[in-house]
């Protein structure tokens, strides 16, 4: 167990180092930090002085180590576009994206797993066929277009939901949340559905496929033969055994949730990290992009680590294998 864990952490650190080197190269060679600081009408001596004071005349490897030290202490430089420290910009925007991701994750788990179980238990019912048809549409529907469609129906036609922004927020400590106000929750409905729809369809298909397979297994027939009630068999014995692949996919999806948040936030002008990212790409705001790269890499490494550990806790077979190895 410990060896397995250390291996994974070690791999994660290597990934982070590789990504940080990429971020460093971007930061160092795209755009000219000296020109950005000294201004276009500075003299050659002034630039040389700044170059020396920033340590940019040092060997590349030393500069990289310097950059690493800054990253570890949370310093990513100043945003070209906003003129504020990158770390503060990112921390300001993070709550909006995290709340959006959490809301869509809840939708994914409740609807996706629920519909998956239902269609697996009642494969021939009309409701199941309807759900499957909708899920095929959900996989083929580009999420930004779903957002556009919903804005048209629910904002333009019916005036039920706001078409942009987060509504009114409540500050708890440094965290501004939209979960506690009516308009905040209303504003969250369309963006979270847009973000979740692809994942709902995927999780549903996965749960259904796994569940159908497990339901044919010997131990389920044995449980039925023992006369256990159907509810207990379906939920405890069958569902428990379908969870491992579902967790991987949902976990990896959490990563692409962040990816798709870029799109959803643009559609709904949601003031989170995704919108920041698109704006930074358009403005070629290199310090923000480099920091973003590191941030995403960190999130993915952590997610992958947690998934591996969850596997371990859920599936006893892995524990046996790990002991043998």
């Amino acid at each position: 167990m410990l060896k397995f864990f250390i291996d994974r952490v070690f791999q994660g650190i290597i990934v982070l180092l590789a990504v940080s080197f990429l971020a460093f190269l971007m930061f160092r060679f795209l755009g000219d930090p000296i020109l950005a600081i000294a201004g276009a009408d500075s003299t050659a001596e002034q630039r040389a002085a700044i170059r020396e004071s920033l340590g940019l005349d040092a060997p590349l490897l030393l500069q990289y180590l310097d950059y690493l030290r800054n990253i570890v202490t949370g310093q990513f430089g100043i945003s070209y576009r906003l003129g504020e420290p990158v770390t503060r910009v990112i921390l300001d925007r993070a709550p909006a994206t995290i709340e959006l991701a959490v809301a869509s994750m809840i939708l994914t788990l409740v609807i996706g797993v629920g519909a998956g179980i239902y269609t697996a238990l009642h494969p021939r019912s009309a409701v199941s066929k309807g759900i499957l048809a909708v899920s095929l549409a959900g996989i083929s529907m580009p999420s930004f277009f779903l957002g556009v469609l919903m804005i048209y129906f629910f904002s333009v036609q019916l005036h039920w939901l706001p078409s942009f922004g987060r509504g009114s927020l409540v500050a708890i400590g440094g965290w501004e949340t939209g979960f506690l106000t009516g308009s905040g929750l209303l504003a969250m409905i369309m963006p979270s559905i847009t973000l979740a729809v692809f994942q709902i369809a995927m999780v549903m298909r996965l749960v259904r496929a796994e569940m159908i397979e497990v339901l044919q297994a010997e131990f389920i027939r044995f449980a039925r033969a023992r006369g256990l009630n159907a509810r207990r068999i379906n939920l405890r014995h069958a569902l428990g055994n379908t969870l491992v692949p579902v967790i991987t996919v949902v976990g990896l999806q959490l990563g692409s949730t962040i990816g798709f948040a870029v799109v959803t936030e643009t559609v709904f002008q949601w003031p989170g990290l995704g919108l920041l990212f698109t704006q930074s790409v358009e403005a070629v705001d290199v310090p923000v992009l480099a920091a973003f790269l590191m941030f995403i890499a960190l999130v993915f490494v952590v997610i992958n680590l947690v998934i591996d550990l969850l596997y371990y806790l859920i599936d006893p077979r892995l524990r046996v294998d790990a002991k043998k190895a």
């Binding site: 095929l136 930004f144 277009f145 048209y152 333009v156 990563g255 990816g259 790409v281 992009l289």
Partner: protein, 316 residues
């Protein structure tokens, strides 16, 4: 798959060693599936429109002399105020929306197909090398694939686009934008092909005919091309079909958020983005119709991909 490979450890030879699509199985299954037939018909129509928009589109939308501002913002033909000359309505400059969609389709299909071909080639070559040679080369390629796989394709594509902007400068980027997009979509795509090909190659590598070829001192490149590639190719076709849909959606998404193809060559995503600006003022058709065109295209490809997977290799 199982029919195509000869087990190395026994003398038994499969009754029919031809790939599944030679056996009429594909055609028979196809004729039994009305939904797939419909999807193929839809896709063929899309392809015709995309290959020869000049023949099919009712108006030459890029010829500025044909535009008439008095036709601006006409609704679709069946809505009051619409005209049969512009079946799906017109945009702010009096451009026929149906024709704009048909020309946009050309860009979307081109980017989708070319980027999938590119990642297919990269992934196949790397997968063959990793699977055939193994060792450190395999470890290196698969490690890179693992890292790549943790980043969602859309993020990689946005990032590549951003880097290209920084490196090329805005003028050059404008000219090369389509190729930047193709590269940005192809780059994250190679991993899936590489992983699939690698796994199959590792199995096929040990088969008797490969060993025989090696004993005959046939060149390695020849063995890879003539003996291994044909035996690992089937699942790649299935994967590529589905990936074309994914690539088209990524391109549309990038264009929608304003990072994709330049406005001078509008794709379906660009049309939806422009149309979205008029949504609140009531000109709903400008965003909805290009979006529906995109949706049905992706749906048709997904249906065909699902069908191929079910028939050719259910284990994928």
């Amino acid at each position: 798959m199982s029919q195509t490979t000869i087990p190395s450890d026994s003398a038994s030879i499969p009754v029919d060693a031809r790939p599944p699509w030679y056996q009429g199985k594909l055609v028979r299954a196809f004729l039994r599936s009305p939904l797939t037939i419909l999807a193929v018909i839809v896709l063929v129509l899309y392809l015709l429109a995309g290959i020869a928009p000049d023949l099919i589109a009712p108006h030459k939308v890029f010829d500025l002399s044909t535009l008439d501002f008095s036709n601006a913002f006409l609704p679709p033909a069946w809505v009051e105020g619409g005209s049969m000359r512009f079946p799906l309505g017109t945009d702010d400059q009096g451009r026929d929306l149906l024709s704009a969609i048909i020309y946009g389709l050309q860009v979307s299909l081109m980017v989708g197909v070319v980027s999938v071909l590119l990642s297919l080639v990269i992934g196949t070559v790397l997968g063959l090398l990793a699977g055939y040679f193994g060792g450190w080369l395999d470890a290196l390629i698969m490690r890179i694939a693992d890292i790549q796989l943790t980043f969602p394709a859309i993020l990689v594509a946005v990032l590549v686009d951003g880097l290209a902007r920084a490196v090329l400068g805005s003028g050059l980027h404008e000219q090369l934008a389509i190729w930047v997009i193709v590269a940005a979509i192809a780059l994250p795509g190679w991993v899936q092909y590489a992983r699939t090909i690698r796994g199959l190659t590792m199995v096929v590598r040990g088969h008797n005919y490969v060993l025989a070829a090696r004993l005959m001192r046939q060149p390695t490149s020849f063995i890879l091309r003539r003996h291994i590639l044909p035996n690992v190719a089937t699942p790649i076709f299935v994967l590529a079909t589905i990936q074309i849909a994914v690539a088209i959606v990524i391109e549309a998404t990038l264009s929608f958020i304003g990072l994709g193809v330049p406005p001078t060559e509008p794709s379906l995503g660009t049309l939806i983005r422009i149309g979205n600006n008029y949504m609140l003022s009531g000109e709903w058709w400008l965003a909805i119709f290009p979006g529906l065109a995109l949706f049905f295209l992706v749906m048709a490809i997904n249906l065909i991909g699902d069908f191929l997977r079910d028939v050719l290799n259910p284990q994928l």
